[in-house]
């Protein structure tokens, strides 16, 4: 007990921002905090579930569409509704997206044999090399870096959305799907932006572990890494298909 009655009544500071800060550091014990080990292990669990889902989607390609729809809904639920419940939604997201990826890969393999393993190898190759670049300090994510990557990602999302809506009316933005020089250049750009999103995910996980965020953020960090990996895999697959179709 402090001899100052105001401290006893209002705590160390009356400012709500500071009060919340003190609560954050004291509310969680060391075992309940986010760690790098935990985030990596949870990513491994999600990857295993994704591969299991992909195995199912590979053998039953009809599962691709329901997997894609349910996976997308679960992704939005995790992001906008309950990041704290990522531990229960992220495993289902990984499994359902795995089904979708398995089905998509079967269709790609039918047209271009051997393309699936190339896309998987390149996706994980980019993951490992960017992780090395991030950990060693070769790539330094700053606020401007985040702004640039976020703007580019939003731009691509809007372009895809417009193209998707236009496809219902029998037209579309042709160049982004073509196998011409412009189409391939666009795909290379999108793969680059998806790869840079991985750096943001690494920084988010590292920052969370350093600050000792609550343990459920391990699941959220692993989930955000999975979302980026799924996007990167699809974009690499599209790029390889464009290159092979020339």
């Amino acid at each position: 007990m402090s001899k100052h009655s105001a401290l006893n009544t209002f705590g160390r500071s009356g400012n709500p921002a500071f009060t919340r800060n003190f609560e954050n550091t004291e509310a969680f014990s060391q075992s309940e905090r986010m760690t790098l080990d935990g985030a990596v292990n949870k990513t491994a669990i999600l990857l295993t579930l994704c591969f299991a889902g992909a195995f199912a989607g590979w053998n039953v390609p009809a599962l691709a569409m329901p997997g894609l729809i349910i996976g997308t809904i679960l992704a939005f639920v995790t992001i906008f509704r309950s990041p704290a419940k990522a531990g229960s939604t992220a495993p289902f997201y990984a499994a359902f997206q795995g089904m979708a990826l398995g089905g998509i890969t079967v269709f790609a393999e039918m047209q271009y044999p051997g393309i699936g393993i190339q896309a998987i190898g390149l996706t994980f190759g980019i993951l490992a090399s960017l992780l090395f670049c991030y950990k060693s300090g070769i790539i330094k994510p700053t606020e401007n870096f985040r702004l640039m990557v976020f703007s580019a990602t939003m731009g691509i999302a809007i372009l895809y959305l417009v193209s998707f809506i236009m496809s219902f009316f029998g037209s579309g933005i042709g160049f982004i799907h073509s196998n011409g020089l412009f189409g391939i250049g666009f795909s290379v750009f999108v793969v680059g932006i998806a790869s840079l999103n991985l750096v943001l995910d690494f920084d988010f996980i590292e920052d969370g572990a350093e600050k000792g965020l609550p343990q459920y953020m391990e699941w959220y960090g692993a989930f955000s890494l999975m979302v980026t990996l799924v996007w990167l895999y699809i974009e690499i697959l599209r790029l390889l298909m464009k290159l092979r179709s020339r």
Partner: protein, 69 residues
């Protein structure tokens, strides 16, 4: 050959991710002033601002009006 090369690349990359991911980033990466502020709160570098601060450290003296300037 294609499958072997990309299969080995996949396994090697996953192995690197599982091991390197658990190691803390380098000091060059961690000790930066321009790091991303993920929690959205203003980050103040007290050491950097100390030199520019207008606060004079020391004990205060009472002004005596009777002293002639």
């Amino acid at each position: 050959m294609n499958a072997i090369f990309f299969g080995v690349l996949t396994i090697l990359s996953l192995f690197i991710f599982m091991n390197l991911g658990k190691i803390k980033a380098s000091k060059k990466q961690m000790n930066r002033d321009d790091r991303i502020n993920w929690d959205g709160k203003r980050r103040t570098n007290f050491q950097k601002n100390r030199a520019r601060s207008k606060i004079i450290e020391g004990s205060a003296e009472e002004i005596d009006d009777s002293i002639q300037k």
